[in-house]
Symmetry: D3
Subunit: 255 residues, 6 copies
């Protein structure tokens, strides 16, 4: 990571509200078997952001996928009403799923499908549910990182229960995600809410364990960014994802 250090050399004097360095992740923990019933059940905490990720394995696929020989992975994201500082109305009560929820659910689904061999999964479905218990920025990236671990547990369960031949063959790689952004001109890693709301550029980057990109979503509603800034942000994201993947592996190594 020496190259990032150089790139960011001038930035390290920046003081972040929580005392972190610009290229430093918030403390992250992953708790497996958070609840007892689902095939995979994970609590991921990234700073004060806490997301419960479950993976449900079901033999069979939706109708449009029948007789294809291929499996399916899908995801739904939601926030509990009081995950946020001000209570958010329930989408079930409003009667419709909002645009932001839709957008994030689709993102999570794509990221996980990006590391799944659908043929090896066979005609089985995995449904990921990411429910945010507490939100402090980066809920979508924490969801992806936690969901991957729940997915592994669900596949191992399916292997143990003879629904699939080999969990290892289904997984082509691992995946994690992290947010990066530019605040007052300084690129930073892993933004909590207080920084996220001030970011001029905001980017979510999902990467595989082998260091490739699955999703890059950069948005600069408040100030466009140039190629150099992009490169710095991608360097930061690469560093962050590498560290998150180590935490994923450590969690999965425990029994």
């Amino acid at each position: 990571m020496t190259e990032i250090k150089d790139l960011l050399s001038g930035m390290n004097t920046v003081v972040r509200p929580d005392g972190r360095k610009v290229d430093e992740l918030r403390p992250a923990t992953i708790t497996r078997h958070f609840t007892d019933v689902p095939e995979g059940s994970v609590l991921i905490c990234c700073g004060n952001t806490r997301v419960m990720c479950t993976a449900t394995f079901t033999p069979g696929v939706p109708r449009w996928r029948k007789d294809s020989g291929l499996g399916w992975v899908t995801a739904e994201y939601a926030m509990l009403p009081r995950a946020t500082a001000e209570r958010t109305d329930r989408e079930s009560v409003k009667g419709k799923v909002g645009g932001r929820t839709h957008e994030i659910s689709r993102l999570i689904g794509r990221c996980l499908r990006g590391v799944v061999n659908m043929k090896a999964l066979g005609e089985n479905q995995i449904q990921i549910d990411c429910d945010v218990l507490q939100a402090d920025g980066g809920t979508r990236t924490a969801s992806i990182t936690g969901a991957y671990v729940a997915l592994v547990d669900a596949l191992n369960w399916a292997e143990a229960h003879k629904h699939i031949r080999s969990a290892a063959r289904v997984l082509t790689d691992s995946v994690s995600a992290v947010s990066v952004g530019v605040i007052d001109g300084t690129p930073m890693l892993d933004l909590p809410y207080v920084e996220d709301s001030k970011a001029m550029t905001d980017m979510n980057v999902a990467m595989t364990g082998s260091g490739k990109f699955i999703e890059i979503q950069g948005t600069a509603e408040h100030r466009p960014f140039d190629r150099d800034e992009l490169n710095t942000l991608l360097d930061l994201a690469t560093k962050g994802n590498r560290e998150l993947q180590a935490i994923q592996q450590a969690a999965l190594a425990k029994d």
Copy 2:
């Protein structure tokens, strides 16, 4: 409680799947400050049932209540999709709140309003959210018992922040709830899912700390019950609520 002992004398030989006696509660714990943001945030575990209960204090009341000088307390109940053995579709995705959810949300709201002096609360609103993380029977009664503790925390917060003069004056009493039922002819206390699904008669009883009833909901879709059975069930519920109220008080005594 000597009279229950007598009434139930013949029943104590019954073996319940989890080894409990017929008049024994499942282990129950109440964790306050489960999340950081809400004015009240409680995790209640009753056996394997786990519910997160938050209380949101908001100055002001809904429009229909304006200028009445009275406050308002309302509640919403929901299950996370994988709280259950089989995944349940999200009501937000289905686009409507189901009948069972409506029924339970209304029950929780009535029980809490039953111990609140709306005049002392003034024109302020408390919104209770009960989200079931894991369901193993008795989710609605656990919600009531946990929500009361979250309510107390929210009122203490409101007193500390000068929104109300005195939390103690708002609360006219405490409230807890427990389920009882008749299984294979035997009345039992605090039914987990495996028992609940076999119960001929099922009753949820919410009681105040002073031992009075706020709600009795007895239903006997599968076999009507007579006055004697009713009395035994109410005795069991009285015993269970007394014990749950001790757990509530112990949790509130901690700082």
Copy 3:
């Protein structure tokens, strides 16, 4: 009923707005064959409350019940917009069924299922519709009482049309329901709207012809009640249901 007389001795001096005694039902009438088309069609009037109850018999059961050998009974309750003093918006126009409607529909369904032998019904479905033409308190209990008569007519129709072997074998008992409540400290039977809105405790009690309970829903949002009050209320409800069942039988005896 001598014991009620004693219990209530001090209460009989209370003057109710409509001149009734505390343990006196409103005049109740049940008109069968109110409309021509349904298998069962009943108009029930309890004081000024008027509910049209129809029972629709359909061979076959919903998909989740297929191949079980069991039948199904379900109910829907609704109010016409101008059943009430102020016009209520239609739920069809609002686009969703409200919590109160859901709660009552489910209550009616459970009460009727409580007296039906699903095996004897076979794989047939009965749908109960209770539409309130005019509401003056007690609409849910009137719905149950009227729906039972419509159910009997529908079963007799099904027997006559050879859909079931014997209506008598399907019915394990009869069912009626009545409201009771505590007003200004006095327990009373069968509350019209003017009393219902002042009741501190409000209880709906559904009982079988053999005097057992199918549902007890007591709610005391405004003042908790103790065991003695509960017992008095149940005595009143027993008296009221006995009288309503006589009216049901008389209606069914007519051709």
Copy 4:
């Protein structure tokens, strides 16, 4: 009406299922004060079709009409689930109002607005509700005919309660409606369901007491009609409306 007799001379030998002549209305009755609460409440029976029509008078108008000095009249039509031979699912449960319901509600509203002087009504609103208790063809025309009588009662109530100066000034005319159609080449008046479902051409005609048209809705999905047939149908409709208006006047003459 001699000219119709001539036009139809050859047709009078046609035997209709219920024995009527081609230019004969079904027996029609109008019962005022059918329920007690609404400002206007009418039960209209046209043969086996029975519709409950209520008129709700409310001071004030919807927001878009404020400060116009003008009133508003609107209507909603609905069928009870078991008004029909096969049970129809409730639109409240389906979560949306169907196209047919929308179309009819709008038709009823236009017809009544066609005889109301909005300036004389002042900033007051009348909401018409037409709920079909039993459907046997012609429910929309029966709704219009019955709703007019409910409207008159509501306006008289409003005059008596000093909400408007004069009911007579608000009403510019009376209105009724009837269906006509061509069956097997023969034009006929007032079609019950059995005829309506066979009609090649189907027309609903709303007319004022002074014999003018407010709405003509002719539809010939199954066989186009020519100008001569149109004229015969309009003659029949004129005759039918004249008779219905006599029934309206007779009902309004009673106290």
Copy 5:
């Protein structure tokens, strides 16, 4: 058309905002193959009103029509949000289809079914979509006129692709529609928005190429009309439809 000239002789001095005579259509053009993908795709312009009409041919029919040997034709109408002077909210965003949309969709469907032989169509479905790009009065009648041409193209496509034996046998006639109305006492043909909004009587008339009526929808919310006015309006509509049918034929004659 000499008879209309006489009837209208006194009216021809009326100056319309766009300089037309009272019995004169707005310039109308029909462009086939407006988009490439649909089986039929037409842009119809009637003055400033522009509607895109597509016809989708699909083998097979909806479930309720299966095994009948008959085809089905259905239509949906919608306005783009900025077809109107003030932007209209999308019905997809509001979550429900409005009454006006429902009413018009049903009208278009009936008109087209009125010229289709369902037996000759066989078990195939045609879905008409009419999307208003710009609205200046008469959008529903322009939709019908344009949709007929799209329908012909779709049927010719189906014949060429061997889905049906003969497009000519499916079509029993052609159909077009035009609006007429009474403005300040003067009957007029083909009303743009500025006239439509002032019309006391408003009528939409769909006619076949052989001069018969398929739909007449006359509404006189603002002033009833008598038989003479009706006859004049029908004469105007006949003239307008004859001219529109010539434009349809000319468009279809081009390759």
Copy 6:
């Protein structure tokens, strides 16, 4: 663009289905004043993809933005039912906006807000509507490119009508967007549907006239991509956007 030529040197032998080179845009045209009523109305054609983009200027902002001194820009995207090879059901009929629609509407809104100075816009709102008349890949990027031109027209209208002081001051830059992707290992510019559905990696890139990024959305559900591929894709997108911006400027230069 010499550097792209080099990077792509080996790729230029690839034959695309429509004969284009890998770094070649489809023919693109922008027609202003496509309809007469909106403040901005544009038809953009990119190959066979055709989108109608309107911009509605409304004085005032939504409630949550009031008294901020800032304006607001929002967007809605939709497809006509027969824009696609198989007809797509209308979201208005389904009763909810789908996830894809939500995602794209939000993307378009962010891109346009990225070049708008909300302070200079003042408390005024611009609503962008992008309705896809025909879809052949790249509908979201064509929407952004077309919507920018509609936005400029609407701002010029607002300046001419004195709603804003200066359109030029509101616009901080221009914006266009284009899709790029990797097909069979080859990065390509501007994918039509036939290529898009085979792309392993798919990226939409919105850039300003000054060559900065506003949005990068790269997704690799089917095969992750590395940093080199990313750079090639961004080079292609830069070239494409530069050419689209020339087309935008040419369209805006016309009167």
